[in-house]
């Protein structure tokens, strides 16, 4: 057990470092650039009409206070951290006076739901099929899958989402292409609402799965085709162990370990994809919130979503890392 404890402490330290560097990056980007977010917000507000100079001066002062831009650099840095630890990003300017944290909390379940379901499906499907393809190299269907995976995998999320949108929005309109659920339904746990949510999730999830499945398929196929040539697999085959058992507990189990590491590593990239997919399909998650916040010039909201997404992704990675020893007992020994 002490081995696992040491491992867990190391992972926690890494988690703390990820959050620390991520937040510092956000700080440097917002504070070291020559452009003042306060002046930007003021220009957004004053663009709708004339405002008295004295009022603008007042506004400037309160915005500086609000964004934590008053005082010395050290003070600003301190305030920045304090706000993040308290999850307090002030009121949102585009949805005034709703606090940023409320907006983020409202959007978070959509993103987490979409992302976790589609990632798990893509990972599971890709790993399973890739394992089969690596083990049985003669199967025509699996070979074709390999070719399709190679073609789909490098396409960026946006392009694939756009293609799906064109196909299901213009050429063959059968699925809802925008929103998280039908507008006229109350957001309660009724059958209608749940079916509507699922229906609306099909296209965004499909675009995430189609791209994700390819890389897991290719990765697992390569891993399995290496494991298959190992001596213990040949020995098991000679000893007459059933093919299904060889595949599941001799080959797959060993090849699965790097796949789990791969899942932890690529989570950040998958999140990037989800951001853009949400925007394309108008899904009411963090991605749409972020993009709309930029269009509206809402500094607090952009900063809030960025910080929450860094936190969220690193928590997910930490969770995968902590579960990892269940799969690979060798971690305890190291």
């Amino acid at each position: 057990m002490s081995g696992y404890l040491g491992y867990a402490i190391r992972r926690l330290a890494q988690f703390a470092l990820v959050v620390f560097i991520g937040v510092n990056l956000a700080y440097v980007i917002t504070h070291a650039t020559p452009i003042d977010p306060v002046e930007q917000s003021i220009s957004v507000v004053t663009s709708y009409g004339n405002t008295a100079p004295a009022a603008i001066e007042e506004m400037r002062k309160s915005l500086r206070e609000l964004y934590g831009l008053s005082g010395s650099r050290v003070e600003q840095y301190w305030v920045f951290w304090k706000r993040i630890l308290r999850a307090d990003f002030g009121p949102s300017l585009s949805a005034f006076p709703t606090p940023v944290s409320t907006l983020v909390v409202r959007a978070l379940p959509w993103t987490v739901g979409l992302l976790s379901v589609s990632t798990l499906i893509a990972w599971g499907l890709g790993t399973l099929l890739g394992g089969l393809a690596g083990y049985d190299r003669t199967n025509r269907g699996l070979k074709l899958m390999g070719v399709v995976a190679m073609g789909l995998h490098p396409i960026p999320y946006y392009i694939l989402a756009l293609l799906l949108l064109i196909v299901f929005g213009f050429l063959w309109p059968v699925l809802p292409i925008s929103g998280g659920s039908a507008m006229n339904l109350p957001q309660t746990l009724s059958v209608d609402f749940v079916t509507s949510v699922l229906q609306h999730a099909i296209l965004p999830a499909l675009s995430l799965i189609l791209i994700g499945v390819g890389s897991w398929f290719l990765g697992m196929r390569a891993l399995v085709s290496n494991v298959v040539t190992e001596d213990y697999v040949v020995y098991a085959e000679l000893a007459g162990v059933e093919r299904w058992r060889i595949l599941s507990s001799y080959v797959m189990r060993n090849a699965l370990v790097p796949q789990v590491t791969g899942l932890a590593i690529s989570l950040g990239g998958i999140f990037n994809g989800a951001v853009i997919t949400e925007k394309v399909f108008g899904y009411p998650g963090l991605g749409s919130l972020l993009v709309d916040a930029v269009y509206a010039g809402d500094y607090g909201l952009v900063l809030g979503v960025t910080t929450v997404s860094i936190l969220g992704v690193s928590i997910a990675v930490l969770a995968i890392d902590l579960l990892y020893p269940l799969l690979d007992p060798r971690v305890k020994v190291r």
């Binding site: 917002t30 756009l162 590593i265 950040g268 925007k279 972020l290 952009v302 960025t306």
Partner: protein
């Protein structure tokens, strides 16, 4: 080098397809130098014409020739990818070689930072960066910041190779003959790592161009410089799909998919070539 290319062309189908796709894209981008119109001018041709013999890929609602616009866009996009790849390669090489060769706490510290950069979701950070910079955002600045964020994955790969090189005999020989760390890394280890660097270059370009397209489509880059994402952005702004100007979106999309699949296949075939087991299999030898 020529022999390697000949081998790859002869024995590797993926390399052949990849080379054809990337070659076609490169050719189109080189044509940009012969364009009859400057890239930023609008209303130089009649707007909204479908593809014809005069305008091969049709014209946009902004009165631009899609063919020439696309060739400028491809040139800029590829240039962007190359710039990011070049700078991030230098970073990845320096950090990977140093971490792998030194080991100990330098290795641990560098790899902790490295893993952090692998995990952090970059798109929100880039969006934040655009939000702060707004109109002062140029493609060079975007390339620089993406290079600073995109070296981590390959640094880890290079480190693992450098670690195995460290235990080889020639490293000790050069150490005893009085070479400094820098000399050992530059003269002895670098040549071994270079093939991997080439294959990661392609993957890195796929990554950076993908992010650039994403940002540009949302309008989060310098949208006045034509890039692939920028073209799609303008097409969306003019609701090209609804207006029936499909060629404005279709041709950039086809071009960018060709670029991605081409680069990816080149990277895959390069990896196959580097791995001696799969190289043997491909020329028909025993595995």
């Amino acid at each position: 080098m020529a022999a390697i290319l000949r081998d790859l062309l002869r024995h590797n189908l993926e390399f052949r397809i990849g080379a054809v796709l990337v070659g076609a894209v490169l050719l189109l981008s080189v044509l940009a130098s012969f364009s009859p119109y400057p890239p930023q001018d609008v209303y130089v041709v009649p707007p909204d014409l479908p593809p014809s013999t005069t305008y091969w890929f049709g014209t946009t609602s902004r009165g631009q020739d899609v063919f020439w616009q696309l060739s400028f866009a491809l040139r800029n996009t590829l240039l962007f990818g190359c710039t990011v790849a070049l700078i991030s390669r230098l970073l990845a090489l320096a950090i990977g070689l140093l971490a792998g060769y030194s080991g100990g706490w330098i290795d641990r510290a560098l790899m902790s930072v490295n893993d952090t950069f692998i995990v952090i979701p970059l798109l929100p950070l880039l969006v934040l960066f655009y939000f702060v910079m707004r109109d002062r955002m140029s493609w060079l600045m975007l390339a620089l910041i993406m290079a600073c964020l995109g070296w981590a994955y390959d640094a880890r790969l290079i480190r693992s190779v450098a670690m195995s090189l460290k235990s080889r005999e020639f490293t000790e020989t050069s150490l005893f003959s009085g070479m400094t760390t820098r000399e050992i890394l530059m003269q002895e280890h670098l040549p071994y790592v270079l093939p991997i660097v080439f294959s990661t270059t392609m993957n890195n370009m796929v990554w950076s161009i993908g992010l650039e397209v994403t940002l540009a489509v949302l309008g989060f880059t310098d949208i006045n410089t034509p890039t692939i994402g920028g073209m799609i952005y303008w097409a969306n702004q003019h609701t090209a799909m609804v207006a029936g100007v499909w060629w404005w979106i279709a041709f950039p999309t086809i071009a960018v998919i060709m670029t991605f699949i081409g680069l990816f296949l080149l990277a895959v075939s390069m990896n196959d070539y580097i791995d001696p087991r799969s190289r043997l299999r491909s020329v028909g030898g025993a595995s």
